[in-house]
């Protein structure tokens, strides 16, 4: 079974590989959006937009989470929500650019994005134990090597690796819980 990172590498020239990645994460990303918008149409539009943006920026993916694309996709989903709230309309720039909008022919969402969609957006990260959160931020957000994470946290590279892995595990569990709650 190919890792997410391997799929994204293959997806540079292989759309089927990107679809495989979509199949892995579509439910999670949809649950993420549905939990925040509480609107089925909006959640589908935002899911399509999240993956369309992921496709367009797939070459910028850097494997900083042990082969997982989960944090990267959640980061894109978070930005899509924030862009929608800022512009007061569902963000569709990537789906439009790829010519997906008209082909999907979905019932357009009538909800207007508002600040409440941003509530709790970062709470999953905030709820992590401090050591794991800092390790994840340094590794995934700032892109440091495990050696540099270890220096920043005054620990060993092995311990830094364990903290990142545990943090990712907790985030994954949290996202699955979110999804169940939303359905």
């Amino acid at each position: 079974v190919r890792s997410d990172a391997e799929l994204l590498r293959a997806a540079r020239s292989d759309p089927a590989a990107f679809r495989e990645l979509y199949e892995r994460y579509a439910r999670q990303i949809h649950g993420f959006h549905l939990r925040r918008t509480r609107d089925a149409d909006a959640a589908h539009e935002l899911t399509a937009e999240t993956f369309a943006q992921a496709w367009l920026s797939r070459r910028r993916f850097r494997d900083r989470a042990s082969g997982s694309a989960g944090p990267w996709l959640i980061g894109i989903a978070r930005n899509v929500i924030a862009q929608s709230v800022r512009r007061r309309r569902i963000e569709t720039s990537a789906t439009a650019k790829l010519g997906m909008l008209e082909r999907l022919d979905e019932p357009g969402s009538t909800v207007e994005p508002d600040e409440r969609w941003l509530e709790g957006l970062d709470e999953a990260l905030a709820e992590l134990p401090t050591g794991e959160r800092r390790a994840l931020e340094l590794r995934v957000v700032d892109g440091l090597s495990y050696d540099d994470v270890a220096i920043a946290l005054a620990t060993t590279p092995g311990a830094a690796r364990v903290r990142v892995a545990r943090g990712l595990g907790r985030l994954r569990t949290r996202l699955i819980d979110d999804q169940r709650e939303a359905l």
């Binding site: 997806a11 020239s13 759309p15 089927a16 990107f18 679809r19 979509y22 199949e23 579509a26 439910r27 949809h30 089925a40 589908h44 899911t47 399509a48 993956f51 369309a52 496709w55 367009l56 790829l98 010519g99 997906m100 082909r103 999907l104 979905e106 359905l183």
Partner: protein, 126 residues
């Protein structure tokens, strides 16, 4: 399959199709431009315009009228040469047209000249 699964599956299908189009588009930009340059030759049948002068006689006017009449040709910066005055012009686009039309061969596009707007229709032929 529930409604959510059905809609997520539709997104999957369209996403993969869009990705294929995107890759194809990025792989051959020069080829696309070349095809456009070859495909766009304007043919205005003289018989269809009998008794009236439908378009301006200069090639520059014809080039100007193309994006004015067809939104997809906006920004393409056409340049035209006269093949047969008032009848046939060969036009080349400096930039590719909007992607919604995949094959321009045989399409009929309106042009707009200084005398009359929105009624001139010229068949485009290879």
């Amino acid at each position: 399959m529930d409604a959510t699964s059905t809609r997520l599956e539709r997104i999957a299908v369209e996403l993969e199709a869009a990705a294929r189009r995107d890759i194809a588009r990025r792989r051959s930009p020069r080829r696309r431009l070349a095809l456009v340059a070859v495909a766009l030759a304007i043919l205005a049948p003289a018989a269809a315009f009998a008794g009236e002068r439908l378009i301006s006689t200069t090639a520059a006017d014809v080039a100007e009228s193309m994006p004015a009449g067809t939104l997809s040709l906006a920004g393409t910066q056409p340049t035209c040469t006269v093949v047969t005055a008032d009848v046939e012009y060969h036009c080349t686009l400096a930039k590719a047209p909007a992607p919604e039309v995949s094959d321009w061969k045989g399409t009929v596009e309106p042009t707009v000249d200084a005398m009359k707007h929105g009624e001139r229709r010229l068949p485009l032929a290879r």
